[in-house]
Structure formats: C-alpha cells, structure tokens
C-alpha cells in the first residue's frame, strides 16, 4: 500500500512541475539557511580540536568592580589571575593567556598582519593543538622570558613560503622571536585557542602587566572531572569577598564568575554579564528559527492548498469511487513528505556548497564549516517539523472537500 502511495505521489509531483518546483525551492532554501546556521553554531560551540574537554573546562573572562558612583569592569589582569585563580585547589591545571590582538610583522618591504596571543606554558596542555613541526611553549620558556614563538600553518605559508619554519626568526612590535613550533590552523570562532602566532607572556616589552588587577587576560581552568565544576565555582565565589580591591575608596564589591565557553559567549552576545542567559539564548534561537520558517511555511501551505484545489475534480472522482477521506489525506501526506524529503536532500547538497563557499570566503578566518552528524540530525528534525507544519492545514482542507461540488467543477 505504501509503495502505491509512493508511486502515485511521484506521478502527481511529476504532473504539475511548476508547483513541485516552487515547493522544492521553498523547502530546500529553508533547509539551506537553517543548516548553515546550525553548522556555524555547532562550529562555535560544539566540541572541536583544540578544545577537547569542554565538559570539564571553565574560564574567567570578566569581572566587575562597583562602588556607589563608580563602576570598573573588564577582563581580569595577570596579577589577579596569578594570585587568585592559579591558586584554586583541586583543579587539574590552569592556563593564563591574553586576548588576541593584531600585530604586524615586516619582512623586506612587505607587511603581514598577524593575530597574536601571549600564553603561559600550561596553555599548551589545556588545549590540544596539532603540531606540524617543533614543540609548544613550556613553563620554562615562560619563566625565562624566552623570545620564542609558535606559528600556525598559514603564517608559515605567508612568511616562510611553506618551508620548515622552526629556527627561523620573526619580528613583532620591534622584538625578535625564534619559531619553535608550527601548528595546524585553528578556527577564529574558537576564540580561546585562536591565533596566528603565540608567544610567552613574559616577552611583553613592559612588565607592568604583572600587577594588573584588570588587564587583557583570560584564564581557563580544567577540572579533573566534570563533576568537580560546581565545587570549583563555589570556591571561587567564596574567595571574592576576601580579595583586596584597588582604589578601595571608590570600590567596595567585586563580582565575577567562572563560565563555560558557551555561557561566556552568550553573555557577551547579550552584553549581560551577571545573569545566566543560556536559556534565553536557546529560546531566542528557537523563536528566530521558527519565525524564519514562518514565511516558507505559509508559502508552502498556499501552494499545497492550490495543488489540492487544482485536483478537486480528481479528488471528487476518487471519493466517488471509494476513496475515504482518510485514504486521500494519507496520500497527500505521503506526497508532502516525499516533497519535503527531496527538498531536504537538495537543501543539504546546496548547504554543503554554501558552507564551502562561506569557509572559503575568509569572512571567518580558518573556519571550516561542514555538516557533521549533529548538524545533519538537526537538519532532519527541522525538515520533519517543517513538513508537518506545512501539511496539516492543507490536509484538513482536502478532507473537507465536497465531492459533489468538485464533480460539478467548483470546489470550496
């Protein structure tokens, strides 16, 4: 019976190519957009090298100092992190590093702009980089202020024409560094590990950063087990009131929290640093997704209703010859599902192309968007939901079609 439905459905779709085309266009387009968005989000938040143990990783990215009239906020400074975060008990390790900035390197008449980051030695154990050459920065390098640097593959291509780079020299901001390692490119959406070149923190021109309460630093903490996280957060919250504040005549309270990468990104997105916006984020996502699907849904509903009306005479005949409303609705739903399925296959294919284009466009440096199993599953779910959404109302209209009117040439 199902095979029958299938055959009839395919014939029907073949019969009115324009309607079929419009439906496929709507379904595949919707899917392309939603799949692309899913892929980007997955790329932003999903587990991905070099961030391999996100479930037991939290970080300190932001603090706020407040008083009666005054507010001072920003990312933590090295001084604060060294004193209060590196000393947290019961953690596996803590990495301290700067936010990435843009630096320029000049080589015989050409200028290359690079994203630069300064890190401690632990950074390279917290993040799992893929080394193509050489070694990472170690705690010793950091302790000694060694003028060494790790670069990524693209930088090697740009500066050294892809030749082995370990041992070569690199000048940044007037300082000379020796390349000690080359790693595979890291997507710019993974803000924590991302950079083109990494150097030890102690190579700053000025050691003023050491005492900074605020600064341009972040810390990432890896717990031994995901279950330890709440405990670590509690420890951190407990120590805040005991911290000695700068300018105590202006400021009385320090607020800060340890966030997962996801929590931090959603917080910065909403510019709301104190409350947890993750539910709001998911809700917003669902609402936006739904709103986006609204127009294609209404479009599909219109097209489907038209398709039904156009076949009114046929529906009347089938009913006359013994098709129950249920049979006809079933047939229609199968047609709709097939259409949605073909449209989604098309959508996936086009989405793959679109994602390749997006990755190659350089809009998001080093991003390699793809459709992995997770994204594919979201796509399938969206398709099913979409197919249902656009099929229910027309199916109801179809069941209400009066065969008598239809056979007279007019329909509802």
């Amino acid at each position: 019976m199902l095979r029958n439905y299938l055959l009839v459905a395919l014939k029907v779709l073949h019969r009115r190519p324009f309607f079929t085309f419009v439906s496929l266009f709507a379904v595949s387009f919707t899917l392309v957009v939603l799949t692309t968005a899913s892929s980007v989000l997955d790329h932003l938040f999903g587990p991905m090298a070099p961030e391999t143990h996100q479930d037991r990783t939290i970080g300190l990215y932001y603090m706020e100092l407040s008083g009666d009239d005054w507010i001072w906020d920003g990312s933590p400074g090295y001084g604060f992190l060294d004193q209060h975060v590196r000393t947290l008990p019961d953690v596996e390790r803590v990495a301290v590093f700067t936010d990435h900035t843009v630096a320029a390197t000049y080589q015989t008449g050409t200028k290359t702009e690079l994203v630069a980051k300064r890190t401690d030695g632990q950074f390279w154990s917290v993040f799992d980089f893929e080394f193509l050459e050489g070694r990472p920065i170690t705690d010793d390098d950091e302790a000694n202020g060694a003028p060494v640097a790790v670069i990524n593959e693209t930088t090697r291509d740009r500066l050294f024409a892809g030749e082995p780079a370990v041992g070569q020299m690199l000048a940044i901001d007037g300082l000379r560094f020796q390349v000690i390692g080359v790693v595979a490119d890291v997507s710019s959406l993974r803000s924590n590990p991302y950079s083109d070149v990494w150097m030890p923190i102690s190579t700053f021109r000025n050691s003023g950063y050491r005492d900074g309460f605020f600064g341009d630093f972040h810390a990432v903490i890896v717990a031994r087990d995901a279950a330890d996280i709440p405990g670590i957060r509690a420890e951190f919250s407990a120590l805040l009131p005991r911290v000695q504040l700068p300018e105590p005549e202006h400021y009385e309270k320090l607020e800060a929290s340890l966030d997962t990468w996801f929590e931090w990104t959603t917080k910065s997105f909403f510019s709301e640093y104190k409350k947890d916006p993750t539910t709001r984020f998911w809700l917003g996502l669902v609402v936006v997704g739904f709103l986006f699907m609204l127009l294609p849904s209404v479009n599909l509903i219109n097209v489907n209703v038209s398709r039904i009306m156009e076949r009114a005479s046929e529906i009347g005949v089938r009913k006359a010859f013994g098709a129950s409303s249920r049979t006809l609705v079933g047939q229609f739903i199968v047609e709709n599902l097939i259409l949605t399925l073909i449209g989604s296959v098309l959508g996936f294919v086009i989405a793959l192309g679109a994602l390749k284009l997006l990755s190659g466009s350089g809009l998001v440096p080093y991003a390699d968007f793809s459709i992995n199993l997770r994204v594919f599953t979201y796509g399938v779910l969206i398709t099913l939901f979409f197919g249902l959404l656009s099929g229910v109302y027309p199916a109801w209209r179809m069941s209400r079609l009066d065969p008598i009117q239809a056979l007279r040439g007019r329909s509802l």
Binding site: F21, V102, A104, T110, E113, G174, G208, N299, V305, E310
Partner: protein, 428 residues
C-alpha cells in the same frame, strides 16, 4: 469597479486570507531588511568630518597599564647607553615621539589623540542640562590634529598655543553637540562644566567642527568634544595639577600621522623603530586608516549582505508561490471569466480585474503591516532611529512589495485574458 473587485475579494476571503497573510509576512521581512539598510546608509551618508586617506594611526599600549596621564613620570632608558636614563613626564615622551616622527621627510604632520578612527572604544560622561542628561563623548587632541585629519571647522577656531589654562580647559565641539546643548545660541565662548568627585572641570568652547565620526562611517552620530592637550604638560606655578587616576582627562593613546602620497609599507617599520627608540617599554600598533576602514566596513557590512541575500531568496520564493496560487485561481475561475468576456469585458478589463484583486489583497496586507511597523518603536525593541529613516525604509519596502506582487500577477492575469468565452462557458 473597485468596489466590485473588492466584493469579489471579500467573498473568497477563505482562500484570499492565506495569500494576504503571506504578503503581510513578506512585507514585514522586507521592511526589516530595508530598515537595516536605510539605517546604515543614513549614517554612511553623513559627513565623516575628516579624511582618512594618507593617514596612519599608531595605537599605543603602555605595558599593561590602562593609560598614563600626561603628568605621570616615567623612567626612560637611553638606547645607546643601557646605563643612562632620565625621568620625564609622559607628555614629554609624547612630545619627543611627535618630533621624531615629524622629522621624517615622508611625514607631513603628526598629532596625538585619545582614540584614533575606526576604534570601538570611547569615553563619555553625562552632562545635565535642564532636565535632560546628554552623553558627551570626549577626545583629547594636540594642536596639529586639525592639519593631520583635515578637520572641517565651521565656526570659531581650533586650539592655539595660548590655550594653556588648567582651570579653564579649551574645547572644540561638533555641530551636533552645539545643537543639543546650546540650541540656537552661539556656542563660542560658552562654558560647560563636568562635575565629578575629583573636582569640577570647566571647559570653554572656542570652535565648532562639522563632525569627527571616529567610530566609523556606519556609526550613529554622537555629540563630541575635543579637549586641548598640550603634549608637554609642564607644571606651572599656581596651576592645579589634576591627580593621576583612572577617570582622568589628560591622557593620549594614539598618534595620527599624515604621510605623503606614495609612501611605501616599509616606512611603517621605520616609524615603529623610531618610536621604540624613544619609549622602549611601550607597544605600538601601526595601521593605515585605509586598511582599518576596509576591515571595519567588511565586518559591519558582511552580516547585512547575508541578511539581504537571504531576504532576496525569500522574496523569490514568495513571488513563485504567489504566481502558482494565482495561476490556479484563474484556472478555477475560467467559467466566471468567460462569462465576463461574453458580457462585454475586454482583455484589459479582465487583466485589470485579476491584478486589481491581487493589489487589494496586497494593499490590505501592507496596511496591516504598516500598523504593526508603526507600533514597533513603542515597544522599545527597536534602536532609536530618526523618523525620516523609518519612513524611507517603509516606503522602500512598500514599493518593492508592490512590484513583487505585480510581477507575480502578470502571468496569471495574462492567462485570464486568453480565455475565450465560448470555450469557458462550455467548460462544464
């Protein structure tokens, strides 16, 4: 005739409601994109107030210390003799840097300022006027900024050597601030006071510039004031030196340099070397404004471009859908159309009827859409925009939507005119 068409539409409201709904949603989507575009375009069209061509910026970081006031003292080591050092004020160090930079042949002029163009940072304080609180964005600047950035003075004058008072600081404001704070009065000579805990700061207006939109071409216009900062702040007897503190006014973070056309990239390195020679502990980030501008525009316009692309595809989808639905409608009503023809309707009448019904539906949809749109600013979800921009976006969206519906209706209405009365009436 119109009334007749209207009746036709009303009587088939079941089917037509869905079409109207689709047009309504499309209209809202179209409006959203048009509004975004109009908002950004409106900003883009406003005068920038400076020229970015041939200007380089150098952003300075003082180690990890946020910013040093010009009065702060620092120890500067000599490049030639590692043992020798001297104690200078930050201001004196800046002065040296500017002198060194200007000594190059390729440099026409150099100046210091708080925030170079195409930065996201800002510093503002609230001025209480009558019962309003106006945010005033501040920038410090040295005298040569006028020349380096090619500022457009509209009234009064720029800074002069004689503007040295610490108790009454000299400022130059932009037209927007002049309007917001002083209305129609002449702002020249007026005094603004920043009442802060660490002491009031009095500022006197000596000139007005058209604008200085340092956040970029796409940013909303803001009221801005430049405060004169003589780079070399030397203490004079009787002056009240302001304290070193975070919210202090006397700091510089950037240099802007006007270079001669044709200056090569390698010259950037020389400037940085020279700057490091003067202040070895500071970090310098040099970028031509043209490059900063490019990456700024690219970053801001990319999401817009994507939104426009998605919207365009949505509209194509809607047009196709409408086309199909209308086509089907016409086929269904062949009898009716044949009858009308038999009763004397010309092809033109028929075409007008089909299109007319469509236009009534789309007009209805747009009226509802307009009502919704007009309510939007009241909900507070929409950023403040001028009514003019809003209206422009509305008209543009309405225009585009109408064009879209007419295009969708063209083929079906043409089909309708091809119906022969005899054949149609025999259709049963």
């Amino acid at each position: 005739m119109i009334l007749h068409i209207f009746k036709m539409v009303w009587n088939r409201k079941g089917t037509n409601a869905l079409i109207t709904l689709e047009i309504l949603i499309s209209f809202l989507v179209l409006f959203a994109v048009c509004a975004l575009g109009a908002y950004h375009y409106d900003h883009y069209r406003q005068p920038l107030g400076y020229t970015w061509d041939q200007v380089w910026k150098v952003e300075i970081s003082f180690g990890e210390d946020d910013s040093l006031t010009l009065g702060a003292l620092m120890r500067v080591f000599s490049m030639d003799d590692p043992e020798a050092s001297e104690v200078l004020t930050v201001g004196e160090v800046f002065e040296r840097m500017v002198t060194e930079v200007e000594s190059f042949e390729q440099v026409e002029a150099a100046a210091g300022m708080s925030f170079a163009p195409y930065t996201r940072s800002s510093w503002r304080w609230g001025l209480d006027i009558d019962d309003r609180k106006i945010p005033i964005y501040m920038q410090n600047a040295s005298d040569s900024l006028l020349e380096v950035m090619d500022l457009d003075m509209t009234r009064g004058r720029w800074f002069e050597e004689t503007d040295r008072s610490h108790s009454l600081r000299t400022i130059v404001i932009n037209e927007r601030l002049a309007r917001q704070v002083f209305g129609r009065e002449d702002p020249i000579g007026q005094v603004i006071v920043d009442e802060s805990d660490s002491g009031d700061i009095k500022m006197k207006v000596v000139g007005v510039i058209a604008d200085f939109r340092y956040h970029g071409e796409l940013s909303p216009p803001i009221p801005l004031a430049f405060m004169r900062l003589p780079i070399a702040v030397a203490a004079e007897p009787g002056d009240e030196l302001v304290e070193h503190g975070r919210n202090q006014h006397d700091f510089l973070q950037a240099l802007v340099i006007r270079v001669k056309p044709g200056t090569p990239v390698s010259f950037e390195e020389e400037i940085i070397k020279r700057l490091h020679a003067v202040a070895p502990e500071w970090s310098f980030k040099l970028q031509p404004l043209s490059m900063a501008r490019d990456s700024y525009l690219r970053k801001r316009l990319a999401p817009l471009a994507i939104a426009a692309l998605v919207a365009a595809f949505l509209m194509i989808m809607v047009a196709l859908g409408l086309l199909g639905v209308l086509w089907q409608n016409v086929t269904q009503r062949i009898r009716e159309l044949g009858l009308r023809r038999a009763k004397g309707a010309t092809a033109g009448h028929i075409r007008r009827q089909v299109l007319g019904e469509l236009l009534i539906m789309s007009s209805l949809a747009m009226v509802i859409g307009v009502i919704v749109i007009v309510q939007l600013p009241l909900t507070g979800w929409v950023p403040p925009t001028s009514a003019r921009v809003y209206m422009q976006a509305l008209l543009l969206a309405a225009g585009l939507m109408s064009v879209l519906t007419v295009i969708a209706g063209l083929y079906p209405s043409f089909l309708a005119t091809r119906v022969q009365p005899a054949e149609a009436l025999h259709y049963e």
